[in-house]
Amino acid sequence: MLIPHPLLGLRDAQEFTYLGDARLIDRPNGMAENAAEAFHDYVYLRDNPAGVHRELWFHEQGDRSWLIVTRDTTTHEILGAELARDVALTRRGALSEGGAQA
C-alpha cells in the first residue's frame, strides 16, 4: 500500500504505524459528568465500517507526522490524507468559536 502523505507524496505504508478510527482524536473530557461512559465508548467502540473509513496512521519511519487517511476498507482505495494536527486545530477552532470547549 502507498499512503499519499500531504507533504511527502506517495510513501510506502510500511513506514507507518496504524492506530485506527480517526474519532480517537475527539478525546472526551475526563472531568465531565458522564466521563466514565464516554471513555468506555471512546476506548472500546470504534468505527469499523465496510467502506469509507477515516483512520489514524503515524509516519513512524518518516517525518513523525500523524495523518488522517480516508480509505475504503473494502477496496483499500485511499481517498485522501491530511495532517492530523491540521484537522485537530481546525476542530479546536470550530469548537472554540462555538464556545463549547471548556
Binding site: T17, Y44, L56, S65, W66, H76, R85, A88
Partner: protein
C-alpha cells in the same frame, strides 16, 4: 527421438547434463524438458496420488507433470518444472515421488486401487480405532503424498531484494508486451518490461508466423535492441511478476543466476517490489486440454506445446504425431509439423464441420476415446461416426482452446467474466486499479490483434497519467485466431484426467456433483482440483465447465475459484530475502558494549538491545553466585551499570510543562528546574503502561525517560498527544535515546566516586539532594548530565555523557573507583535490588 532442423537453440555448443543418473547432452537455448525430449526421454515424472507415469505436458510455467528435483546437496530444489529450467552445464536433476525408480515405482500400486481412492474417500474412513490415525493412517498418507523432498540443509545461496518505480509496468514480453513497451518507451515514459522466459518474444518464439514477411525473431531482436538503447526502459527477462498488491505495487522475482551452474557467491534471485503508476498485463494465454480416457500418458501434450517444442526447440517424442482439437489452432500444429517432415498420424477434430487445412488425415466430428502405452504413448483410439480406429503415434497434441492468463488481473478478487464468443474467461471488473490486460491475456490472441492491442492499451494507460504516446509502426502479421467449439470432455467409461498432477478425473467431478459438493470452491476442496503446484492452470476451467454441464448452470454462473498470488510458486529463500542469520533483525548495542564484552559479560536481549545481564568472574560457576556478588558489592561499595537503553525524550517549548502534566498521571508542572520526578503513564483504559523519570533542565526544557521496551510506543503516544489531542500547545519532541550514554552509579560510595570524575561541582546532599539534576562537565570538560535518582534504593546517580564517550567513562569509573569497591553490575542484579527494595518493576 525425433530431432528436427531449425529452432532457437545453439547447436554450435553442447551442454552436458544428467537426469536420474544418466548423462545427456543439450544446447544453449534448451530447457531441461526440451533437452530430455530431444534425447528421447518422455517419462519425466509420477503423479501425486496414483503415481501414474507422466511426461511433459506443456512448454511453460503451467506444467503439471514434468516436475523434478533440480540440483543436488543443499541446493536441491524439489518440484521444479523441467519446462522452465534453462539448461546449464553440469545440470543434475532427478525424478520424484517414486521408489525405487521412475520406471518401476512401487507406489504405482495405488493406481490399481484407484477406485477406492475416489474424491474425498479419506473423509469417510480411517476413523477407527481412534489412535490409529496419528500412528498408522496419517503417516502412510503423508509418506505417499507430497512430491519432491527438501535436502534438510540450509540454502547456501545469496538472495537480494529491492524496489523499483516506473510509469508503466508491462508484464509479459510477447507480441502485446513488446508493442506496449515500445509504445511507452518511445514516449519517454519510465517502463519496466518483465518476462518470465529467458528470451523475449513469448509465444512468437514458438510460432512460425512471419512478421512483415520475416521470421518473428527478427522483429523481436529489433525491438529488444531499441528498448535496450532507451535509458527510460528496463527490460527484465527471467523475471516473473507473481502478484498484484494495493496501489500499483507488484511482486516480482528475477532469477539472476539460476541459469548458471553455480552462482559463485552472486545473488541467485532477487525479490523486486515494483511500484507502477500503470500496468499492462500481457501475460498471454494457456492452452487447455480435452479430457478423454487415459489421456495422461507420456506423449499426450498440449498441441501448442508440441508446436513449441518442434519450432523453438526442434524436438519431439518419437514417432508420428496425432492431434485432437476443437479449434483451428490444433491444425496449425499439424501444419507446422508436417512442414518439418514429421508424420502426422491424423487430426481428430471434434467439430463435425471441420475442414482440413493441410495434407493430413482428418477425423471431422471425431473424438479420441482411449490410449495405449505404459511409459509412453504408442496408440490412440479415435471414434468417428460410431466407429473406432486405433492410430499408432508417439505423441498426441490436444487443443481445447486457450484460456487468457487472467490471474494477475484477478488478484484483487476481481472475477473474470465468461466470453461466449471466445469461449474463455477474460479479465473482469474489480481487478487491480491501474492494470489493463492486452493481447492474449485479454482474449486478443491473434498475433496482429495482440500487437495492436498491446500498443493501444499502453497508449491509453499513459494517457491516464498525462503522457502522450504515439502508436508505433507495427509489423504485418497473419491472423490466425478462431474460437473453439465447446467440447469439455469426451464421455466414456475410462478415467479421463482433468487435473494431472493431483489425479482429478472427470469421474471425480461427477462424484462431487453427486455428493452435492457443487459450488466450485466445494468441487476444488473435495477433489483437490487445482490445488497442486500448477494451481490448475490447465485444469480449472475445464473442470468447472464439466460441473456446469452437470448442474445445467452457465459457465459464468458456475464461476471460477479465487485467483491468489503467487502466479507461479516463489522460493521461500527469495521471499525471506537476504539476512536470515545473526542479522535477521537489527541488534542495538549499548555505548559500553565493547567494554562489557571484554569483561566477559553475559548479555541478555531486551527488545532489540543487548544488555549486560551479569559479569561473571573466574571461579563463579553459576549466574546466581555472580549476581549475589554484584548486589552485595553495590550495597557495600559502589556498583556501575549501563542504563542507556531507557528511552529518552527531549521535551521543549513554552507549554512543555502543561504537556507533561497531561501526559503523566502525576503532576509535572510543579517540578522545579534542576529537579527530577518519577512519572507514571496510563493507557486510556486506565492501565499503567510506562514509568520513568522526568527531569526539568530549564523552564521550557525537560528530559523524560521511558522503559527500554516502551521507548518507541511512548514516543509515538507523545507525538499523538502533541499533534492530535492538544495541537494548540507549544511543545517540541525529539528522541535522544541513542545520543547519551547513561551510567547508573549506585551504592554508599557513589558520591565519592562521582566526585572523582565531576569537574568542580558540589555534590553534597545539600547542594545536590535526592532527585536533583544538573548539566555539568566531567573528566575535564566533557559535557554531561547528572541525575540523582535511584531504582535500587541506594544512594545513586545516573550520569549521562555523549554516547561516544560511554565506553571510556565506564572504564574510568571502574578504574578510579577501585579502592571504593567499584564493580559493574548487570540487569539481573538491578532486578534483584529493585525487588528487594520493593521498587516498581518495569511493565512488560
Amino acid at each position: 527421438m525425433t530431432q528436427l532442423s531449425g529452432g532457437l537453440i545453439d547447436r554450435g555448443r553442447t551442454i552436458r547434463f544428467r537426469f536420474d543418473g544418466k548423462d545427456y547432452q543439450g544446447h544453449p537455448g534448451d530447457t531441461l524438458a526440451s533437452a530430455l525430449l530431444a534425447n528421447g526421454v518422455t517419462l519425466m515424472g509420477r503423479s501425486f496420488k496414483y503415481h501414474r507415469p507422466r511426461g511433459v505436458f506443456s512448454a511453460g510455467s503451467e506444467e503439471p507433470n514434468a516436475l523434478v528435483e533440480l540440483r543436488t546437496g543443499a541446493r536441491r530444489e524439489p518440484n521444479t518444472r523441467a519446462t522452465v529450467v534453462e539448461l546449464f552445464d553440469g545440470l543434475e536433476a532427478s525424478s520424484q515421488n517414486r521408489w525405487p525408480s521412475l520406471k518401476h515405482d512401487f507406489m504405482a500400486v495405488n493406481d490399481l486401487f484407484a477406485n477406492f481412492f475416489a474424491a474425498g474417500f479419506y473423509y469417510k474412513t480411517f476413523m477407527w480405532p481412534r489412535a490409529f490415525w496419528e500412528k498408522i493412517y496419517e503417516p502412510a498418507i503423508r509418506k505417499a503424498a507430497g512430491l519432491g523432498s527438501l535436502s534438510f540443509q540450509a540454502d547456501p545461496d545469496a538472495y537480494d531484494k529491492g524496489f523499483l518505480h516506473c510509469d508503466l509496468l508491462v508484464i509479459g514480453g510477447g507480441a502485446a508486451g513488446l508493442a506496449a513497451a515500445l509504445t511507452a518507451g518511445r514516449a519517454g515514459a519510465r517502463v519496466i518490461l518483465a518476462d518470465e522466459d529467458f528470451r523475449l518474444g513469448g509465444r512468437l518464439l514458438a510460432e512460425t508466423h512471419l512478421l512483415d514477411g520475416a521470421p518473428a525473431t527478427r522483429w523481436i531482436d529489433r525491438v529488444q535492441a531499441e528498448l535496450d538503447s532507451l535509458p527510460n526502459v528496463r527490460v527484465m527477462t527471467r523475471t516473473t511478476v507473481w502478484g498484484a498488491f494495493d496501489h500499483g505495487v507488484y511482486g516480482a522475482v528475477e532469477r539472476v543466476s539460476d541459469h548458471l551452474p553455480d552462482p559463485n557467491g552472486a545473488v541467485r534471485q532477487t525479490l523486486w517490489r515494483i511500484t507502477a503508476q500503470r500496468t499492462v498485463l500481457a501475460a498471454g494465454a494457456t492452452e487447455r486440454h480435452i479430457p478423454f480416457a487415459n489421456n495422461d500418458r507420456p506423449g499426450v501434450m498440449l498441441a501448442g506445446a508440441v508446436r513449441a517444442y518442434a519450432n523453438r526447440w526442434a524436438a519431439l517424442p518419437d514417432g508420428p504425431v496425432a492431434i485432437f482439437t476443437n479449434n483451428d489452432d490444433g491444425h496449425r500444429t499439424a501444419l507446422d509439423l508436417a512442414e518439418k517432415g514429421v508424420t502426422i498420424a491424423g487430426v481428430v477434430d471434434a467439430r463435425p464441420d471441420a475442414r482440413s487445412l493441410g495434407r493430413y488425415q482428418l477425423f471431422a466430428g471425431g473424438m479420441v476415446t482411449d490410449t495405449k502405452g505404459r511409459h509412453g504413448l504408442t496408440r490412440i483410439e479415435v471414434a468417428q461416426n460410431g466407429q473406432t480406429t486405433w492410430l499408432d503415434c508417439g505423441a498426441l497434441g490436444v487443443s481445447g482452446g486457450w484460456n487468457p492468463n487472467v490471474h494477475i488481473a484477478s488478484h484483487h478478487r476481481g472475477r473474470p467474466v465468461w466470453d461466449d464468443g471466445l469461449q474463455a474467461f477474460v479479465p473482469g471488473e474489480g481487478g487491480p486499479v491501474g492494470l489493463s490486460a492486452a493481447g492474449a491475456a485479454a482474449g486478443q490472441g491473434a498475433t496482429g490483434a495482440a500487437l495492436a492491442s498491446g500498443a493501444a492499451v499502453a497508449q491509453a494507460a499513459l494517457a491516464a497519467i498525462g503522457v502522450d504516446a504515439a502508436l508505433p509502426d507495427l509489423p504485418q502479421a497473419e491472423s490466425e485466431f478462431t474460437a473453439p467449439h465447446p467440447v469439455w470432455h469426451v464421455p466414456g467409461k475410462g478415467r479421463a484426467w482433468v487435473d494431472f498432477q493431483n489425479d482429478v478425473t472427470v469421474k471425480d467431478v461427477k462424484l462431487a456433483h453427486q455428493e452435492n459438493l457443487r459450488p466450485v470452491e466445494h468441487l476444488k476442496r473435495w477433489t483437490t482440483l487445482g490445488m497442486a503446484t500448477d494451481q490448475g492452470k490447465t485444469a480449472n476451467v475445464t473442470a468447472l465447465a464439466v460441473m456446469a454441464e452437470l448442474t445445467g448452470q452457465s459457465i459464468q454462473n458456475t464461476g471460477t475459484t479465487i485467483f491468489r498470488p503467487p502466479y507461479t510458486p516463489v522460493s521461500m529463500s527469495v521471499l525471506g530475502g537476504g539476512d536470515t542469520g545473526a542479522n535477521f533483525r537489527p541488534r542495538r548495542l549499548t555505548p559500553t558494549h565493547k567494554w562489557a564484552k571484554a569483561q566477559g559479560a553475559v548479555f541478555i536481549e531486551v527488545g532489540q538491545w543487548m544488555r549486560a545481564q551479569y559479569f561473571p568472574r573466574p571461579g563463579e560457576t553459576t549466574w546466581r553466585q555472580t549476581v549475589d556478588r554484584e548486589v552485595l558489592a553495590t550495597r557495600k561499595g559502589v556498583g556501575i551499570c549501563d542504563v542507556t537503553t531507557l528511552g529518552k525524550v527531549d521535551v521543549q517549548g513554552a507549554d512543555a510543562a502543561e504537556f507533561l502534566d497531561r501526559i503523566y498521571a502525576n503532576a509535572m508542572k510543579s517540578l522545579k528546574v534542576g529537579m527530577v520526578r518519577y512519572g507514571l503513564m496510563l493507557r486510556e483504559d486506565g492501565h499503567a503502561c510506562d514509568d520513568g523519570t522526568c527531569a526539568r533542565l530549564a523552564d521550557d526544557h525537560y528530559v523524560v525517560t521511558t522503559t527500554t521496551a516502551q521507548a518507541g510506543p511512548v514516543y509515538r503516544h507523545m507525538e499523538y498527544a502533541r499533534q492530535c489531542l492538544w495541537p494548540e500547545l507549544d511543545v517540541q519532541l525529539i528522541s535522544t535515546t541513542d545520543a547519551w550514554a547513561q551510567i547508573a552509579i549506585a551504592g554508599p560510595n557513589a558520591r565519592k566516586l562521582l566526585e572523582r570524575v565531576v569537574d568542580g561541582v558540589d555534590l553534597s546532599n545539600e547542594a545536590f539532594p535526592i532527585m536533583a539534576c544538573a548539566s555539568l562537565t566531567v573528566c575535564q570538560g566533557l559535557r554531561a548530565r547528572l541525575f540523582r535518582i535511584s531504582f535500587s534504593g541506594e544512594l545513586a546517580y545516573e550520569l549521562a555523557v555523549p554516547a561516544r564517550y560511554g565506553n571510556a567513562l565506564i572504564q574510568r569509573l571502574i578504574e578510579v573507583g577501585a579502592d571504593l569497591g567499584a564493580v559493574p553490575y548487570g540487569t539481573e542484579a538491578l532486578g534483584v535490588m529493585r525487588i528487594e527494595r520493593a521498587m516498581p518493576q518495569a511493565t512488560s
